[in-house]
């Protein structure tokens, strides 16, 4: 009497071999991302490295004399946008996140707000541009100004800030809140003096990353009406304005003019240059990209640094 033929065929050698092939494929595909990033950086360096100079950083863009064109106006425009975005988006985003994480009751409204925020985070940036164009530029009559641009970018990054801040707040252990409340602190005192300081590094990281997203956005700004060739930064020269009208009046006039002037920003400037057929503009575009990437990568580095610092301190 013989045993039934066994179905046990481990074929371990073949399976190990397939396993190795699989690993090789995973590693190869993983390297594609690294190679792409490397190729991108090399390409930008190779085309744009030669245009980087002090005059490139301090000259306005010029379509007639591309040899002396620079990114000064675009850099100042980007700084204005970021300033306005920070002022508008950070209080709004952090405030909303605090309410959702610390106050919100579990009801329909809260669920709806949650759902709404995750949907907003998925709305394409160009749609925010349409919103800004119809509301800020036309209905509120801000015109094609840096103020309209900054507010549009603010709306764009608010969901990102909210999501990051909520994560940071949720990571603060409840025991800290309980201890503070048990000692008689009010809810806000607890948040203000204990929860927020503990969550600050996380919030900061989220804010930096969301701002780095805002800095790179071109599409909504083009919709708002940012153009590629602007001769002077918003408001013109502050020094001249102060000299002509005295400190306070000059400052006020300059601010008013700055907020309503036409503007450009680094990514918009780069887009304009890429669109020119002449090869020299592509070098300028690469130079602009280099400046933009240096700014963005340093912001990323700061964010990563904060996160690393925080992790080390949490473990100790």
């Amino acid at each position: 009497m013989s045993a039934a033929p066994s179905a046990y065929r481990p074929a371990i050698g073949r399976r190990r071999f397939v396993g190795r092939l699989g690993l090789a494929a995973f590693v190869a595909l993983s390297l594609v991302a690294l190679v792409a990033l490397g190729a991108l950086i090399l390409q930008v360096l190779q085309q744009g490295g030669s245009v980087i100079s002090r005059t490139f950083l301090s000259n306005p863009p010029s379509i007639l004399e591309p040899e002396t064109a620079g990114v000064y106006v675009a850099i100042i425009g980007t700084l204005w946008l970021i300033g306005i975005t920070v002022l508008a988006a950070v209080p709004l985003g952090v405030g909303a996140a605090i309410w959702l994480e610390e106050y919100a009751p579990r009801n329909r409204l809260t669920r709806f707000i949650h759902l709404n925020i995750s949907n907003l985070a998925g709305v394409p940036s160009i749609v925010y541009g349409l919103l800004g164009l119809a509301i800020f530029v036309r209905s509120l009559q801000m015109g094609r100004s840096v103020l309209a641009g900054g507010l549009t970018l603010a709306l764009l990054v608010v969901p990102v800030i909210i999501i990051a801040t909520r994560e940071a707040l949720a990571a603060v252990p409840p025991s800290i809140r309980h201890a503070s409340l048990a000692l008689g602190a009010t809810r806000w005192q607890t948040i203000r003096h204990h929860v927020l300081p503990a969550a600050l590094p996380g919030i900061l990281t989220g804010v930096i990353l969301s701002l780095s997203r805002a800095i790179g956005e071109a599409a909504p700004l083009i919709l708002i009406g940012a153009v590629s060739y602007v001769a002077a930064p918003p408001g013109g020269s502050l020094a001249e304005s102060v000299e002509a009208q005295g400190v306070f009046a000059g400052l006020r006039e300059w601010l008013r003019a700055a907020l309503s002037d036409g503007f450009t920003a680094l990514p918009v400037q780069i887009y304009g240059w890429i669109g020119e057929p002449d090869e020299i503009f592509h070098a300028l575009a690469a130079g602009g990209i280099l400046v933009l990437l240096v700014v963005l990568f340093s912001m990323n580095a700061v964010a990563i640094g904060i996160r690393a610092w925080q992790q080390r301190h949490r473990h100790s």
Partner: protein
């Protein structure tokens, strides 16, 4: 008295924080209102786009010529261009993103993860206009022309490749989360049955995380649909109905940027086309996002 002041202050702070949260609803309402208003004329005295052009012409017309007489407003060429780029991008991003995240979550030692993660974050942080530049000056001339030497400088394929690279970080980080949510016990049971690492990864972890992976893919897809600058630069500006990725096409986002870059006067039909196209774009991304979030929510419940 002091108690009362304190309580009023507490209440005031809570209400202003609530107001911040409510602003987000206002933003959504604003987006929907603006789009519908230009399309259907909600405010009194406004003539909407769809009062001049019929919805059926817009949705089924196969020619998009909003500026040149005789005009025609069929959105299909823009939709097909958008979908071609988005699907092409998924074909690029899915193998790379999935392989990278499996490698990082199942194989890589922690130190390698710590190198890879920031690189992916940098890749995610590169502005899309830079990807457009990369497509025009590197991918088309060196990669695509290496295989198809006489392809046009603007073509859908380069847009698809570059958007694919762009969404790799999205696919990666979401899939990575999904894989890490799979309980260790599942893996250990499989190892106990003498499965190899590849078998554990592809036959245990991947199926267990499948709904998370699908949601990740959908979110990446919706990003690809909404992507503007890279596509506007790489794919060109010729809307036509075609499935040939080697020709120049136009996407919905590309069209919007092009019109605004010219000067369509406010209130004109050209000006309103961008809101009609914007509404279609918003609807498409919204549906994909909602489906993805549903799947995500179910996936999270399964392992909590």
């Amino acid at each position: 008295m002091r108690r009362l002041g304190l309580r009023l202050r507490e209440r005031g702070i809570e209400l202003s924080l609530l107001a911040c949260a409510l602003v987000t609803i206002l933003v959504t309402a604003g987006i929907i209102f603006v789009l519908l208003d230009e399309c259907f004329g909600l405010t009194p005295g406004k003539v909407g786009f769809f009062q001049a052009v019929s919805i059926s012409e817009f949705l089924t017309g196969t020619e998009w010529k909003p500026m040149i007489e005789p005009r025609s407003f069929g959105v299909l060429p823009l939709v097909s261009g958008t979908l071609m780029v988005a699907f092409g991008a998924l074909l690029v991003a899915l193998p790379i993103g999935l392989a990278t995240s499996i490698f990082l979550s199942e194989y890589a030692p922690p130190w390698l993860r710590q190198i890879f993660k920031p690189v992916l974050e940098l890749l995610a942080g590169v502005p899309t206009v830079v990807y457009g530049y990369f497509a025009l000056t590197f991918i088309t001339p060196y990669l695509i022309r290496g295989i198809f030497p006489d392809v046009q400088i603007f073509n859908a394929l380069s847009a698809a490749v570059v958007v694919g690279i762009m969404i790799v970080p999205t696919v990666c980080s979401l899939c990575d989360d999904a894989f890490r949510a799979v309980p260790r016990s599942l893996r250990e049971a499989a190892y106990g049955l003498a499965a190899t690492k590849l078998e554990v990864s592809t036959r245990v972890v991947l199926p267990a995380a499948l709904s998370g992976v699908i949601a990740a893919v959908l979110l990446a897809f919706s990003r690809a649909i909404g992507e503007t600058m890279a596509v506007a630069l790489a794919a060109g500006m010729t809307p036509h109905l075609s499935l040939n990725p080697l020709t120049s096409i136009q996407t919905m986002t590309g069209y919007i940027v092009q019109v605004v870059g010219g000067d369509a006067p406010a209130g004109s039909l050209e000006y309103q086309t961008i809101f009609a196209v914007g509404l279609s774009l918003f609807a498409m991304t919204f549906i994909v996002n909602v489906v993805a979030q549903r799947i995500f929510a179910r996936f999270r419940e399964a392992y909590e």
